[in-house]
Chain length 430, copies 2
């Protein structure tokens, strides 16, 4: 029996997470299904940023490093993010970008493996990743391999387990794939890697704030993640980095900047790394962007009294299941296929579709945006199709939004309006 | 003949740069002489940041990457900074922190030297810097030397010329010393280094926006700089990086993130560096902080119609000369000595003092702050004294501010109030 729009309104009325939506400034007449690319603006952010600009910077100037706690922001916001990803207190800091943090942890992980190899052999000089991992992850790993004379091997998601042999030093994976939304089993793959003597670096860009993550329970080695997707930190918000306390003090990471020094304000000429995760800090943090990130993270912590990440995940699964069900039923025969895994446990908080038409995905996405349904397009290549990508953020997406989004999609396809020339003009950033 | 307060008011009345001060939100009852640590808030910034937050992010969301030009911000703001430091169009980008950018350019410079050494010898494996260069510069160089098996040699400022022998690969210097304000002759030292086969990396943290810099005329190799000091970009504003076009495409820098890819939105699995300086970009930039930086840079470009950096430098010299003159005359016999070079051509836009009293510098600075004169304290060590540091930013510092700042200093010293216990309580960040 088809779910009706009325059913969706009923689901929203009964949803204990529904009031969380009031935390956000959502543009009217838009169904925003792109929170996996850029999260929406929390209501608290504008006032908080103004406070930082006008009062902390403008009025109090340099003394705000102490008086307003700027100097502690990387740790303070880090400790809040830690609660979302199963990390302990003082194990995670906000710093730099995901790309820069990947370089830090891959470099440190490589040193640990090289050290262990020297002691007990064998020589491990390969980093393994997934062929369609997010490109910046692959570029950073490729670059490090060039520096070290190592190899980067890219495998299909299903072949990663078999790839873990005794030449492999590191496994670097994004838990939820940015294109397909396919989700790896972090605990199982980490255990499998460890059994093969391989260290694991997890990118949580599409996990943090979207699916429950338990870094400690999984005994992960290293993790990085993004502040501007499900954490709602704003465009280009700083990223985060976590290192298992077992490894945190074993090596310098190479970006040995003053904020990672044991005593930055001694201005000593020699580097002495700070204890614990603080040595993964580098330069002076961008305070305005960091303050905005804290507001974003707070919108997720606001879910703690109503079930936290487990409750958000349950709603996320319900939203994506509903979307797939409605696309199957209401868009049947219109050329669409579901690219994301149909099994909820193997899917993050997004659903990707392909269309049978040649080069149809891009203009369909544009036609939907013109109707106020914002998803995005990701180009395919020889082995993967072009996709229409839709993120479902349980903090602010309603069941009725899902129904309406599918209805708009049905109308775009049925009308054929997507084939109009105006929808085919590609923007620089897609 | 002593300059009087009335003389200073007269100088301000005749100063063609005086109206530039109206660009800033200055706290009342404060004489701010710490723009070399954190520049003040431009009037335009709060509204611009609100626009980015509320309209570009909140309302327009993901489409602002194109529609609001977020994607071009690193280049757009970079091109503005280029005008202040003698760089050409599309030769300089805003990215990451000074520390991270130093790692990029030192890594690339090291590759260039290693390459040239292989072809023509000799083997060069030493980085030279100044013993009291800003610590983060030394830490990053130390870290890279560990990775490469190179040595970092720290020399006194006067000995650098003689240190340039055939074992030296790179010379890394901050043009204006963060403690003493001593300024190196960029063109002369660069020429001397090149004659010895040494490449030069300049840190412009205390130069950009403070003194005229001409990177192209000096034939410098690499430069980095800071956004939150004289550029008024706000706390932790992103930094900048310039590479001589002759070198820009010779090597990858190791932080090969997606924003430095030739076509980031192709999402190709292999890294292909962008043409020119764009390959020195790495991850997604912090848009809020970057937008604030643009407002700060604009306050300096506003000086172009009234003489630009040359006029700002002339005023800066006049301010620091006046400060030294008044300290000499009005604080004579009160235990102070001038640590900065007395020759204006060898001094940046700051003046540092020492006090003969044991551990006196810190409480004197605190007592001045309590009276509304904000400078800062930097601890000495075995070979350098504790200092009182005062920055003079010609965009917003008046001649009468200089007179009043010296008068407050005189009163603090003459009254002995600095020796009260309350001024000796050290804050975490000094």
């Amino acid at each position: 029996m088809t779910t009706t729009r009325q059913d969706c309104l009923h689901l929203d009325a009964q949803d204990p997470l529904a009031p969380l939506r009031d935390q956000f400034e959502l543009p009217p007449d838009v169904i925003y299904l792109d929170g996996n690319s850029l999260g929406v603006l929390p209501r608290a952010t504008a006032a908080r940023v103004q406070q930082v600009v006008a009062d902390e910077w403008g009025r109090d100037l340099i003394k705000s490093w102490n008086a307003a706690g700027w100097i502690d922001l990387p740790q303070r916001v880090g400790n809040k993010i830690a609660r979302l990803v199963g990390a302990g207190d003082n194990e995670l800091v906000v710093a730099d970008s995901t790309s820069v943090n990947l370089f830090k942890v891959l470099s440190a992980a490589a040193k640990i493996v090289a050290d262990e190899s020297r002691e007990r052999g064998p020589q491990r000089r390969v980093i393994i990743s997934e062929r369609d991992n997010f490109p910046t992850d692959l570029y950073i790993a490729e670059s490090l391999c060039r520096e070290l004379g190592w190899d980067l091997e890219l495998l299909e998601a299903d072949d990663i387990g078999q790839g873990l042999n005794e030449e492999v030093a590191l496994l670097m994976l994004t838990q939820v794939n940015y294109r397909s939304g396919r989700m790896h089993d972090m605990a199982a793959l980490t255990a499998q890697a460890h059994a093969a003597g391989v260290r694991v670096v997890w990118d949580l860009a599409h996990s943090a704030g979207a699916v429950p993550v338990d870094l400690r329970a999984a005994q992960a080695d290293f993790a990085v993640g993004c502040g501007y997707k499900y954490l709602n930190g704003g465009p280009g918000a700083p990223a985060f980095v976590w290192v298992n306390p077992e490894h945190a003090e074993r090596f310098w990471q190479p970006l040995a900047g003053w904020m990672g020094h044991a005593a930055p304000f001694e201005f000593a000429p020699g580097y002495r790394p700070a204890a614990g995760i603080a040595r993964y800090l580098c330069g002076t943090p961008p305070v305005l962007s960091l303050a905005a990130l804290e507001c974003g993270v707070d919108t997720l912590l606001a879910a703690e009294p109503v079930g936290g990440m487990a409750a958000l995940r349950a709603k996320s699964v319900a939203l994506t299941e509903l979307y797939i069900e409605l696309v199957d039923e209401r868009c049947a025969g219109l050329g669409l296929s579901v690219v994301s895994p149909r099994e909820a446990a193997r899917r993050g908080s997004q659903v990707c579709l392909a269309h049978a038409g040649d080069s149809a995905a891009y203009p369909i996405v544009q036609a939907l945006i013109a109707r106020g349904v914002v998803g995005d397009f990701r180009a395919g290549d020889a082995s993967t199709p072009d996709i229409l990508r839709f993120g479902f953020t349980p903090l602010y997406t309603r069941f009725v939004d899902v129904w309406d989004a599918v209805e708009q999609l049905r109308q775009v396809l049925q009308s054929g309006e997507w084939s109009e020339a105006r929808f085919n003009q590609r923007a620089a950033v897609t």
